[in-house]
Amino acid sequence: MAQLVEEWIDLHADFLFRLAYRFCSNAADAEDLVQEAFLKAKENEDRLSNGPDEIRAWLVRVIRNSWLLKLRKDKRKRDWDPTWVDELAQLSPIQRDQPDFSDIQNHLDKMPWAFREPLVLHYLAEMGYREIAKQLDIPMGTVMSRIARGRSWLRTQLGINGSD
């Protein structure tokens, strides 16, 4: 196998799996997405001679696009999720006895995709707002407000006390 792809696997596979997992909340699907991303990378190896940051951004884009394609095929997942309404009703600041950090994925799953995606890209991929806006092709102000809201919602759900 070519040297470059080998390198990319070492560098980025774990990160990409984390990202894919936060997108699809299923280890098997996530690994499948990662494998497919590297397959594509191998096919395009000659064209992808940029630095590690660019390669990573390219791989993130591939993961994201494959996942969206899968979502579109499996349309049920994009439809209205009634559990979200229940969550919304609880948006008033409720304090839990014990913050439950183990189930952050459960909370992410309940977050509409439009909020979840920029939030995950921001915190996990450490992408800046401008980069996310470019990646998702939405205005930067929208990225800002979605992350701010997703964050504050997550914070309420996790019962993280703050000073606001």
């Binding site: 984390r18 914070r155 000073s163």
Partner: protein, 267 residues
Amino acid sequence: MDCELFKYLWRLGRGENHRELGESLISMRTHEATCQSCGAWVASELSVDGFLSREIARVNIPSGMGDRIRKRLEFKPIIENPGGVIPSRPSLSKSRLRVGILAASLMLLVSGGAFYALTRPIPVTDDSWNLFWDDCFAWEVSPPDRDRVANWFSSMGIRTELPQDVNYQHLVSHGIVVWDGRQVPQLVFANPDSNGGRPAIAKVLVLSSKQFRLESLFPLPGGQEGSRTRVDFLPESNEKSLYLVSHAGEKIDWLIGSAVSASSDSR
């Protein structure tokens, strides 16, 4: 800059991207450095960010994944249509029959499908949901202003010229109502400090000359028997936009600087 504004801007621009906030950034820096409570607040926000980064990154990597990826890459990609055999063309009569059947089923599909497409319940899309939430959130963090309301209408695909000289601080709701089949922006204002003890309400409809022959609205109707509701128009109305106001008070000074009672003038 006050603490509320500072926190709002900070939340939007967190971290490295503060520079996106342009000129506000300088006053934000000054505020953060001088305001003790905001300084502490920023520290606590940053710790939440650190926490979320760690938690979101905490995903167990399945063991042997690297090997499985490498194994998969060793397989040759599947070549489509491997023999290079082109499927034989169907005979002419067969293809005519096919065309006929296809046309008939298409007609059925189109008529039935069109009816179904127009009437079936549809899933709520991310876009509507986002608009709804964007709007709620904006109200939560700062009082409404004309620009934001105008943006909202334009995001709904409604081109409109909203009134300038009304007190948007009193705006409690905005939306779209249907008038004679046309979508019309409606603004609802309320003044809790009105004299009577009950909040005074004023509804403003923005009627455009592109949608209606505005002169057909005159003379404006007088009040109904037994009702205090009156219909006026805002003095800044012009030949392109007519701002129709319905309200239940003698005066709407709280809504505009100097209210003009139009219904009495036009009769």
